[in-house]
């Protein structure tokens, strides 16, 4: 993957000093976008990254306006505009992918507090409205007409022990990923049925998402 030169203004939380200074916000945003697209469930909202990106975009927009007013050559202005458009696309697509996942798994996210905490404030409002609307829809169109024991939108019937009408993200999907560093023998499965797999740097692997979930969160593994 290309790493563009530029001032590394992002505090990404990585321990490696070199990666800290060589990873720009644009890189981080790209990485967050890729991971979010490839992951079957919703990941942590990168609040500070999104905030910084928005500020940079705003700054750039003002710069472009200024340049057009001052009559800077059209070529530079159009190039700035292109870069701006690209960054905007990344940001928008990132947010849209997340919204899509929230819509899909709205009930599950609302029920599970750890998933709920991965959302930003606006996403939480969105999720709440989503669940309310869907609940209302189910109520009015179907559930009110069913016999009494089957009226819940969360459970199949009153005798169900858990909320089995709630779709959950499939964590067992296989995803293709790449490690940044050599991680050595990595145990894929807690029960020990599967033998450890050597994860080398920069090689592509197809693995179950559940096995590498903690690595993705800590940023050691990238989804492709």
């Amino acid at each position: 993957m290309a790493s563009s030169t530029g001032d590394g203004s992002g505090f990404s939380g990585m321990d490696d000093y070199e990666s800290l200074i060589s990873t720009t916000d644009a890189e981080l945003l790209k990485r967050a976008w890729r991971n979010e697209k490839a992951a079957p469930e919703i990941l942590r909202f990168e609040a500070s990254l999104v905030q910084r990106s928005r500020e940079q975009i705003q700054l750039m927009e003002e710069t472009v306006e200024e340049y057009t007013k001052n009559g800077v050559d059209a070529l530079s202005v159009s190039l700035y505009q292109m870069d701006l458009d690209r960054t905007l696309f990344l940001l928008r697509s990132y947010l849209r992918t997340r919204l899509q996942k929230i819509e899909k798994y709205a009930f599950h996210i609302q029920k599970t507090s750890e998933l709920w905490n991965l959302l930003s404030k606006q996403e939480q409002t969105f999720a709440k409205r989503c669940t309310d609307d869907m609940e209302q829809l189910f109520e009015q169109s179907v559930l009110s007409k069913l016999p009494d024991r089957y009226k819940s939108h969360l459970k199949q019937s009153v005798i169900s022990e858990e909320d089995d009408m709630v779709p959950e993200a499939q964590l067992d999907t296989f995803v293709i990923c790449r490690c940044k560093r050599f991680l050595g023998a990595f145990q894929l499965d807690e029960t020990g049925v599967e033998k450890p797999v050597d994860l080398e740097a920069d090689d592509l692997y197809a693995l179950r998402y559940k096995s590498i979930k903690p690595l993705v969160e800590s940023g050691q593994v990238d989804l492709v």
Partner: protein, 211 residues
């Protein structure tokens, strides 16, 4: 809800892959003068006539379209190198040659926008097509090795486009195997004596050895 790519198919659409590929750096030779650009993606320039400089591919293509530069062909895209890679791909039945991750997208963009900068363009184009075909064929045969004992598959040296195309198949196949897998299968440990380097059959722990 807005989504640029099909959520049930590949995770990325071809256009999005191209978007990612456009951030790769290439060398250009500008024919004009321009001040440094301080973009969100980084700082580039200053641009002086006849002095080569590195810029991202999207920037290079934009400048090229306006006739402001010529693009220097990346090293791996020379006829000699590509012929070497093609020979190696044909010789090895299982291994993939190292190629830039986005070689398909990069070559496509350069063909579309920088035709006059590529000497022997027809040769280069046909070489890349052949390389693509050989690799695809190898992917097909390689995927046949996925068996019930595969928990992880190593995809050495595949490129972004190829990964994107096999992703739905590989994901579904491995998932189905995983669901059908059960502890009784452990007795079948010694059934497969050879471990191939592309699809790592990771049942009992064996060092990877080409056959």
């Amino acid at each position: 809800m807005a989504s640029q790519s099909d959520p049930h198919g590949s995770a990325f659409s071809a256009a999005e892959l191209e978007f990612l590929a456009e951030d790769e750096m290439v060398e250009i030779v500008p024919n004009m003068r321009m001040d440094p650009l301080n973009l969100i993606s980084g700082d580039f320039g200053p641009f002086r006539p006849q002095i080569a400089t590195q810029v991202p591919l999207w920037l290079a293509v934009a400048l090229k379209k306006r006739g402001k530069c010529t693009i220097r062909l990346p090293d791996w895209m020379s006829v000699e190198k590509l012929t070497q890679v093609l020979e190696a791909e044909r010789d090895s039945a299982r291994d993939f040659q190292p190629l830039p991750f986005h070689y398909v997208e990069i070559s496509r963009l350069l063909f579309d926008h920088a035709r006059d900068d590529i000497p022997d363009i027809y040769m280069v184009r046909s070489l890349i097509e052949d390389i693509k075909d050989v690799r695809f064929h190898k992917i097909g045969t390689g995927l046949e090795i996925i068996s019930e004992r595969t928990y992880a598959v190593k995809l050495l040296n595949l490129s972004a486009m190829e990964v994107n195309i096999v992703r739905p198949f590989v994901a579904k196949a491995l998932e189905t195997f995983y669901k059908l897998d059960s502890p009784e299968m452990i007795q079948d440990a010694e059934r497969r004596p050879d471990a191939r380097s592309q699809a790592a059959d990771r049942g009992p722990r064996r060092p990877l050895r080409p056959r």
